[in-house]
């Protein structure tokens, strides 16, 4: 973490705020794992979370691709949007 001079408008407080905002974005299970973490631990957990999200996108892309193989040409997209709105 670079410490800036007094001319910087970014305070430690703001950084702490951003760090706790990040922490609140982690899923419950990960938050519990790190507890009252240091910023460093939180960043590591955030990296791990992002990697798992990327893996999820990979995995879901594979599954969608497989589903698409069985798809017919004129599929109703409206159904999907409707069900998404309901969820």
């Amino acid at each position: 973490m670079s410490s800036r001079g007094s001319s910087s408008r970014i305070t430690d407080e703001e950084i702490n705020e951003l760090v706790s905002k990040l922490q609140s974005l982690l899923p419950e299970s990960r938050r519990r794992n790190i507890g009252r973490a240091s910023a460093s631990k939180l960043l590591k957990e955030t990296c791990s979370y992002i990697k798992s999200l990327h893996r999820d996108v990979d995995d879901l892309s594979d599954r969608l691709s497989a589903l698409m193989a069985t798809m017919d040409a004129n599929s109703p997209q409206a159904d999907i949007i409707r069900s998404l709105l309901r969820s």
Partner: protein, 154 residues
């Protein structure tokens, strides 16, 4: 009818400043339709890569140019697309996967968040928060498409 002049976002669940879930869903489904229509006989792997690109593209387009991560993603997608068209090679333009060596956690994060390299710590935290929000929404969206039985609907 609710007046939505102040809040262009009809979905109350999304954060104030963020792409509406519906908009992302619409873009993604449209991209899926395109993938199916233009390459119905391609291999699963190739189609999967296209879907993955569509996922990141719809995320990035919906977030627009207001975010460094979305700008970086859009640039990356266009760059790789140009390379593919010129070189005729097929490459996944998703997020590059590199093995993590001994780097500081902040630097590791910089490599994971698009546009992160060279970013100052504060901006990095902000961009990461927004990126995580949009990325997790994208995952939920894809999951619900899979759950609804896929693009073939009911």
């Amino acid at each position: 009818m609710k007046s939505s002049t102040r809040n262009p976002n009809p979905n109350p669940d999304t954060p104030r400043f963020g792409p509406s879930k519906l908009m992302v869903a619409f873009r993604f489904l449209r991209a899926l339709t395109l993938v199916h229509r233009t390459a119905p006989n391609s291999s699963n792997a190739a189609r999967s890569r296209r879907i993955q690109r569509a996922a990141f593209a719809s995320m990035a387009y919906s977030a627009g140019p207001r975010r460094a991560w979305s700008r970086a993603l859009l640039w990356r997608l266009h760059f790789h697309r140009a390379r593919r068209l010129c070189a005729g090679r097929s490459r996944a333009a998703g997020v590059p996967r590199r093995p993590s060596t001994t780097r500081s956690p902040a630097d590791e994060l910089r490599r994971l968040v698009p546009g992160g390299t060279g970013m100052d710590y504060c901006s990095l935290l902000e961009e990461t928060a927004d990126y995580i929000r949009c990325l997790s929404e994208q995952v939920k969206l894809m999951q619900s498409v899979v759950d609804s039985g896929g693009p073939r609907g009911r």
